[in-house]
Subunit: 268 residues, 2 copies
């Protein structure tokens, strides 16, 4: 009784970003962080501060977002899981709660992040996919787009794909893989998947914006090369819109998991 | 000039039913018919009344809804198409406008209607599919469900699947086919597809509600047989919720199409 035992709790979260101003808390409107911190603070009886793996922007979705917080509460993981899911609105789901090694840090320890960007490529709009894809009516040359993907791989200075007007320490990032595929079972849907050590804000959407211009035949592979080498945001096309983007996966080195709820392996 | 020429205009419509009280106009809130009749009336300068192939209920979606109306307007199809799509909200799309044979009737002439019902079958909720599928956390026995499908085929009295409290002339309907499949490319998603000459209100959702009980192991194939033969709505389980249902296709006998916009073949 009364033993002081600080627990490090890791949350796995999926959300539909349509109605949120992104992950990070801010005064202008609802955010995922804001909603979850309010509920956790209420539930655990002390101010909870979440650290997160990927701060998604307004309108961006997540299937596997990872966040963690410290608590002195003894509440069982099952209670935290059930209470959170009972209180959030249906566009958010906390699909696993874990107690992990005290040293685990959701942001700092990330090995690999995977994002998917969905493009609905058909002359006619489809209202049933509008919230989770970007509609491009012009026929895209998928092979031309694919030919550019090798230019993205490796440790490079991706300054051309940073968010306009942002000031960051370094624009060097490492991209491990990039692919473009038709989604089987979903008519006219393309999925661009990219994995890397980390991404700058707007980086994936800026890359997709550029690839779409290639697909439309407005730019060639040599333009993509030139734009990357210029390291100048101003020469690249505007970003693709947020609703096509999904944070799909966050990978970490093996860590000690003390307990988890639910126990079974989950794959969304 | 001034020639009186009544045109019969056929519309192909897709919509996300989430924010509508179904197709049919009603005073309580927005409906697809209400929205489209208001816009067409404004556009064509006379009261427009739409007849429709399938009156979908509150929250039900459509990829291929078909409606028609008569007009004296000479407005080109391209103008009607572009004006309608510019005025509707993004959850509705009119994807083809045709001038057809004067005798065509969208409701009366239907040969075959195809509906799909999506079930997300996984212990964990997925916020990204919640608006277009029904979440069933219990593991479903798909083979047991499939074994019941032959019982649905043919011309039968489907009184057990009518909407409670409705009074209709006959509860005999003809079902041509029914299938249940895992959706390739969409994890944990099942699609129940059913085609028939026509359906009663709630019929597809009542069938799905029954099949889910079979999948959960609460009912067997002999119970399904008994429930169908009872012709009694009260012995069947409640309907599955509306958001999983999509009106996928309406088929007609070949008819004379005088003109269409756009001209190319469309497959959503």
């Amino acid at each position: 009784m009364g033993e002081v035992n600080i627990r490090n709790i890791r949350l796995f979260i999926a959300y539909d970003g349509t109605n949120y101003l992104g992950w990070q808390i801010q005064p202008k409107g609802p955010t995922i962080q804001g909603v979850l911190e309010t509920l956790l603070t209420k539930l655990l009886g002390h101010k909870v501060r979440l650290k997160v793996a990927g701060r998604t922007d307004t309108g961006v979705h997540a299937l596997c977002q990872v966040a963690h917080f410290l608590t002195l509460s003894h509440k069982p993981l099952e209670v935290i899981f059930k209470a959170l899911n009972a209180m959030v609105s249906p566009d958010i789901c906390i699909w696993k709660v874990e107690e992990v090694d005290f040293k685990f840090h959701s942001q700092r320890d990330t090995l690999k992040k995977t994002y998917v960007y969905y493009v609905y490529n058909y002359p006619v709009r489809n209202p049933l996919v509008r919230l989770y894809s970007h509609w491009v009516p012009e026929k895209l040359d998928i092979n031309a787009m694919k030919a550019c993907l090798p230019l993205l791989i490796g440790e490079k200075d991706f300054a051309s794909f940073r968010k306009s007007g942002t000031d960051i320490k370094t624009t060097v990032r490492t991209i491990y893989s990039a692919s473009l595929k038709r989604v089987t079972g979903m008519k006219h849907m393309l999925a661009f998947e990219i994995a890397g050590k980390g991404f700058m804000r707007y980086m994936v959407r800026n890359i997709v914006g550029l690839l779409i211009e290639v697909g439309k035949g407005k730019l060639g592979i040599e333009d993509v090369q030139r734009i990357i080498e210029s390291k100048d945001r101003k020469v690249a096309p505007p970003p693709a819109p947020p609703q096509g983007l999904v944070l799909k996966k966050i990978e970490y080195p093996p860590i000690k998991v003390i307990d988890s709820y639910p126990k079974f392996k989950i794959e969304l």
